[in-house]
Each structure stands twice: as C-alpha cells, then as structure tokens.
C-alpha cells in the first residue's frame, strides 16, 4: 500500500520549523520532498544544539530529524543564476512548491508566486508568513513565539491572574501551523484534480493561533470584553480542574458537565457527605462555591498517590487525565499501542525514535522511510535526475552554486 500523497512531488525552499514540519507530514503520506538548502550551513535547525535551548549536547539535532525525515537535501546557492535555473527545472516537474522565506527574498531568487504560477499553472504554491500577506506588517519576520503565541492572545490569557504570561515551548505554534498548511495543500491538490488548476495557499502564524484560540476570540468579538485568565484555585467548575496528588504528580479532572458525574465522584474520593451538601450538591452551587470546593479537593487529592486516584476515579466512571512530561511519552503504553511513535534507521545513530505524523490512514498508510538527510546529500542525484550532466555539476561547483 502506498501513501495518500504517493506520486506527488514537492520542492521545499523553507527553513526553521513550520513549513518543514508540514512537508514532513506530506512526505510521511508518500510525497517525494526535495529540500533546497543554502551552502552556508543549510536550514538553521541543523544547528539547533548550539542555540541554548537544550542543556545538553547530542550529535544529531532532534528537531531537525523530526521535521526533515523522508526528504532529500539539495544544496543550491540561490543567489547564483545557475541555482535559480535549477529550481525552476525542479518546479517544472513538481506539484507543490513550499516556502516560508520572506517575500523580498523570494522575489530576489525569482521564485515569487507570480513568477512560478505564470510558468506552471498546475502548481500548488504554499507559503507561510508571520502576520499575513497584507497589512503594514506583511514583511515582518515571524516566529511562533512572537507571531503565534504572543500576538494572538494565547500567551496573554494563559497563566494565573496578575502573574507573568506563560512562555510557550519551542516550535509549539509552528507544529500546529504545520497542520493547517498540510490541510490547505491537500485541499488544493484535491481541487486541482477536478479543475486542472493550481493556486496559492497561504497561512500566517498569527491566523492559525487565532483559530486555535477561537473560543476566546469569539467571545471577545461578541461580548466586547476581555476574557479573564483562569485561576486554578477558584474555577467555576472544580470538576474541570487539576490537582496535585500525594506523590507530587498532577491529575486533571475533565467533567465539563459535572452533574452526571457528581455522585460517582463523591464516592470515588470517599466524601459521600458532599453529594447532598447544600453548597456543592448542584452545578450552580459548585459554581458559586468553586473556591471552597477546590480547597477541599486539593486537600483530598494530596492524601493518595496519583495511580490510586486514577483507579478510584475510573471505578466510578469519572473522566480524568494524567498530566505527563515529554519524558513520560516514550514509556506510555497507549502511545506505542497506537503507533504515535515510530522508529527509523539512522546511518550514524542506528535506530532512532520519531513522532509519526498524527493520522492513521486505513489504506494509504504513512511511513518513515528515511531519516533527515545530510546537508546536500542528494544534490547531485536530484540534479542529474532533472537533466543536468556531470559537466554542468562541475561548472556549478566551480561557480559556488552547489557544494
């Protein structure tokens, strides 16, 4: 069985995280992705270990491996005319061109939408910006910390009232944005089947964040007032809140409609007297006396380790969840049972674990066929496939257009 995107060819002129992550999904789904990188070190994520994010050294760049598996790497110095010509030749045979370079860079390299669409009307041109293609800030470089997390309101609304905003994790917004990009490219490819026409699909880190925070943003659009931050200690529904268990680990109660669960919940925590308590016995009562109930529950949950609470809550039909760390994921049996993780053979490291693309297809399964390429590993192979000769390659090398 082949992947859903089998036969689709992608030229990726992109760096950092969001667009490479989207094309990693496309590649897992069967597309052939050629990643174009500059000769000055290539995609900066190759050098991630030196950016002060991880307090340890690894001989490979974990995020680069995640977002560039299944791709071939071609090094081209896009400032050189030979390199630009080569990209045009690649695009001529491609279905998708994917980029997150800044607009003026794309024009300088001769690969802006208008230039490629004029020559290749069936091409899907996928682009990503920080703040959108229009407006005063259309050229402002965007990273997910700024354009996605900070600007969209997510950062501003997380955290306790009066506390500092909550810092995101690296690439968090980029990876959610990768899902919108892959959707758009897939929908455009589907549309091309019927119309024969390609088009440009573009998204912005700010816009995907707004979609993500849609419920709060929608509230402001209509209510015209800002939403208050959630405080853990005084929530309106204490059964939609999290508590620290006796072993210091956190568990999350998730019963947004608390009424059907209340009786079972009181039994699970061994506090049957609360069930009919006039302060807490109704949804409205729990809402009004949220802080008091949270205080009781904090004290209750601190008495037993999390695993015991989990068993008791399960026995009484309550909905709850583990608060895990990334380190817990690898040992989570549910993760392996569902194939959320996969393995691949790395030429230098042996078998490495990677996150599978987050959908399972029943007849066109995703697959990781190779790990992330070395910088320029496939330059010669790909250029030769596209009609260049060894003599051309020597000339390119002399001119500095390839490594």
């Amino acid at each position: 069985m082949t992947g859903a995107m089998a036969g689709i060819k992608v030229v990726e002129l992109a760096h950092w995280v969001a667009m490479p992550a989207a094309m990693a999904i496309m590649a897992d789904w069967g597309a052939e992705v050629v990643k174009i990188e500059n000769p000055q070190g290539g995609d900066p994520v190759r050098g991630f270990m030196g950016m002060g994010i991880y307090p340890f050294d690894l001989s490979l760049s974990p995020p680069f491996e995640m977002d560039n598996r299944n791709k071939r790497s071609v090094v081209l110095d896009m400032r050189r005319p030979e390199a630009q010509e080569a990209v045009h030749r690649l695009v001529a045979e491609a279905d998708v061109f994917a980029t997150n370079l800044e607009p003026d860079t794309l024009s300088r390299f001769g690969v802006e939408y208008e230039a490629l669409a004029a020559k290749h009307p069936r091409l899907i041109y996928a682009s990503l910006s920080g703040y959108g293609d229009d407006g005063e800030e259309w050229e402002r470089p965007g990273f997910d910390y700024s354009a996605h997390w900070a600007r969209s309101g997510i950062m501003g609304v997380l955290g306790e009232p009066d506390g500092p905003p909550v810092s995101p994790r690296p690439g968090f917004g980029d990876h959610s944005t990768s899902l919108a990009i892959v959707s758009a490219v897939s929908a455009a490819l589907f549309n091309r089947e019927r119309t024969g026409k390609g088009q440009r699909v573009s998204t912005a880190l700010l816009h995907t964040a707004m979609w993500q925070l849609g419920i709060d943003i929608q509230a402001c659009l209509l209510a015209g007032q800002d939403v208050p931050r959630t405080t853990r200690t005084a929530v309106g529904n204490p059964l939609l809140n999290y508590y620290r268990a006796g072993d210091g680990r956190w568990l999350f109660l998730v019963m947004p409609q608390s009424a059907p669960y209340w009786s079972g919940f009181c039994k699970a925590i061994g506090r049957k007297e609360l069930e009919k308590d006039p302060s807490f016995g109704t949804t409205g009562g729990r809402w009004r006396n949220g802080a008091a109930l949270v205080a009781i529950l904090e004290e209750v949950f601190a008495r037993r380790p999390r695993a015991e609470w989990g068993r008791l809550l399960d026995e009484h039909g309550c909905i709850w969840g583990l608060v895990q760390t990334p380190g817990d994921i690898d040992t989570d049996p549910q993760v392996w049972a569902n194939g959320f993780l996969t393995t691949a053979d790395h030429p230098a490291q042996g078998e490495i674990k990677l996150i599978a693309s987050p959908v399972r297809f029943s007849t066109t399964p995703a697959s990781v066929r190779s790990t992330a390429p070395q910088l320029g590993e496939h330059t010669e192979e790909v250029l030769l496939e596209h009609g260049y000769t060894w003599e051309d390659l020597t000339r390119f090398k002399d001119a500095g257009a390839i490594l």
Binding site: S146, M210, I329
Partner: protein, 403 residues
C-alpha cells in the same frame, strides 16, 4: 470562484469542538456539511451558558464559531427509522466525520466496515481522545486531558516547580481540527487515484505529541527531559519575555542571538554591553544569563511597549507584543488580512467570526450562513439528499425519529 471542496458532501456526527471545528473548515472551503444531532439534546455546545464567567448572551458564539455554514438535521438514532435515514445520507455523502465514542458508533451500526459497504467511496474519519488501540481506547477524551495534560504540554509550561498553567477552552480541539481537515483532504486526493475511500484514525493525544515535537525528540533520542523555561534564568536572554514600563509584556525571539546582539545593544541604548566580556557572545550570555536578564528587566521598564516596538522595528529585531484577546480582535494587521469574517445572523445582525486559517488564491473560503438552529434543515436535507418524500417525513415525525 468556488471553494476547494465545492460539491462535496460531509456528514458530521460530532459534538463539542474538535470535529465540529474541522467541519467548519471543510464548510468554509465549499463542502456541504450536514450536521446530524439528537432532536432533544443536540450538540452539548448549544447548552453552554458561559465560560469562565463570561456569559454567552443571546447568541452562543462558541457554537457559532465552529458550526457556521452547516445544515442542521435532527434525527433520533435510537429509532430504526432514524438509523435508516442516516444510512441514506451515508450513501449520498463523500465524508463521514465523528468524534462519538467508538462504542457508540458501533451501537449505531456505524463501524467502518458497515459504512464502507454502504458507500465504498466514503472517507470515514473518527477522532478519539487516546487512539483506537490500547487499554484506554474507549476512554472519553477532552482536550484538557487527552491533549493538554496527557500530551505533555501542560507540564512543560510554567516555571519549574510551580503549578502548571491551565489552558484555554478548545485550544487543543482547534489545533486538531486543522489536522482532521488535512487528513480528509489527503484521503480525497488518494480517492482520486484509487477510486475508494478509507478510514482515518485521529486522536487528540497524538496531535498533541506532534505539536510538542521539539520537546519530545530529545526525550526520545536521549531520554532527556528539557527543563521548563525559567524566565529569570533563560539560557538565551534575547529569547525571553520582558515587562515594559506600562506593565505590558514583550516577547523577544532572537534565537540566533549572535546575529542580533550588536543591533540589540544599540536599540536598547546600551552599546557598552556589546563588547562586555560577560555577554559578548552566545556562550557568555548563557553562562551569565541571570545577570543579563536582570539588566534587561531594568532596561525594558524604561519605556512603554509601543515605544519599544517602534525602536525594535527600526533595528530589525525579532519580537512580538504580548496581546490580550481583546487586542487581537481590534488588531489592524488581523483585519487587513481578513483573519475575521462576518455573516448575517437572525439575532444579532452581523456576526463576526474567526475565518478558517488559510487563504486560497483560486478557491477562496467563504462563510455564507451562521450555525443552524437545532434541526433547521431536517426536512430540506431528508427530501433533497436522502431522497425521501413528505409521506416519509410524516411517518418519521409520528414515530418521533425527527422533531
């Protein structure tokens, strides 16, 4: 111009946020979405009165945001006649999307093999909390538990040793919605090649693992847990959050700090820092990070947020202001890029909504109708799509299968 998915019919058996939100994207892209709801209960989102104390008012905007552009059919699936109508609709649809529990779908006679027998071309997408395999396959999953808590994000946010921050309602659901839309579109592309549909298995948990990939990868490749971000001691002080003179916050995002250091020192009026041996390269800054953060905290309070924005823009530094949600809905950049859209609504005149987060150059997204009333289109859809007659409808009504 029509939408990318024009002419496709999507049958939604969804509730709460993730699947309705995915179908809102498909609807914006031109698909006809038929939302089937229980005639008495309906989607529980209809019953939300407030979130965190912000009242819904007359218009339930959370429901509106994820249910625009749909047709509403009320059908009681406890009746055989109701199930029969659904089978008719399945035969006439391209996509069936659900986040009902797997056991509930089986009870309704809708496991994939039966649906595929009714309609081999159908793309059948089911979202679970924790995956379709493993011990927890039947466990109900909400984004708070299955996405935020279980997926690792919650534990990684917030300062070390502090309580983890709460997330906002539907955030994980809305991320997952982009993936569901993408997976369905990809399966439609594959259908063009193979002629048959397939089953898609998605989960909130798996999507979260993808989103937190950059934290997962070191855990997977080296068994290393990255420490939580500590604002006061972040290893790269040029990638951190600072409070400005007017109490607002700015997120600096200069991941490659050496590149920006000279311009940054000039921008903050501290050219003396540039050659200061404690700070003059990224390794020194990392070693002396607490000291530098504390200097920068002092410097940043010397101006208000707007004036820092002006300075940082002039020096081409990468940063973002931390906005509140109300800032976002009045952000001119968001408006200039049509991140919002509007649609006439019977109760409030014009209803503003968050637009689906991709711009298509050839097949624009469109919102042409607000969320349907419960069962608003029951008769219309049963007559036009399921091929029923008025006599059939009368019989269904008498039985109670439709309202």
């Amino acid at each position: 111009m029509s939408g990318a998915l024009d002419g496709l019919r999507v049958l939604e058996l969804g509730h709460w946020v993730a699947v309705p939100s995915a179908c809102a994207i498909l609807g914006d892209w031109g698909a006809e979405v038929v939302k089937v709801e229980d005639p008495v209960m309906g989607d529980p989102m209809r019953g939300l009165r407030s979130v965190d104390g912000v009242s819904v008012g007359e218009v339930n905007y959370w429901f509106e945001q994820v249910n625009r552009n749909k047709k509403g059919v009320a059908l009681d699936l406890r009746y055989d006649s109701g199930k029969n109508v659904l089978r008719h609709l399945i035969q006439k649809s391209d996509v069936l999307v659900s986040n009902f529990k797997v056991a509930a779908l089986e009870r309704l006679g809708l496991p994939y093999d039966i649906v595929a027998r009714l309609n081999p071309q159908i793309v059948y997408a089911v979202l679970t909390g924790f995956g379709r395999e493993g011990q927890e396959r039947d466990k109900p999953g909400y984004d708070y538990s299955a996405f935020w808590a279980r997926g690792g994000a919650m534990s990684k946010m917030g300062e070390p040793d502090s309580a983890p921050p709460p997330q906002r309602p539907g955030m994980g659901d809305n991320v997952t919605s982009m993936l569901i839309a993408g997976a369905i579109s990809a399966a439609l592309v594959a259908r063009g090649r193979t002629g048959v549909g397939q089953a898609l298995d998605l989960s909130l948990f798996n999507t979260a693992v993808w989103m937190l990939g950059m934290d997962m990868m070191p855990a997977l490749s080296a068994g290393i847990e990255i420490p939580n971000t500590e604002r006061g001691k972040t290893r790269n002080p040029l990638w951190n959050t600072y409070r400005t003179g007017d109490g607002l916050w700015v997120q600096l995002v200069m991941i490659q700090s050496d590149r920006f250091w000279p311009a940054f020192c000039e921008a903050i009026g501290r050219p003396d820092l540039e050659q200061d041996p404690r700070f003059n390269n990224s390794l020194c800054r990392e070693e002396n990070c607490a000291e530098l953060v504390s200097i920068l905290e002092g410097v940043m309070t010397s101006r208000d947020c707007a004036s820092w924005e002006e300075v940082f823009t002039r020096y081409q530094l990468i940063f973002g202001r931390v906005q509140t949600v109300i800032d976002v809905v009045t952000d001119p950049q968001a408006t200039a890029n049509s991140f919002f859209t509007q649609v006439p609504h019977p109760l409030c005149g014009e209803l503003r909504l968050v637009a689906s987060p991709v711009k298509f150059s050839g097949t624009p997204a469109e919102v042409s109708a607000p969320a349907p009333e419960l069962g608003q289109h029951t008769e219309e859809v049963l007559l036009e799509v399921a091929g029923m007659t008025w006599d059939d409808l009368v019989r269904l009504k008498e039985e109670g299968a439709i309202p």
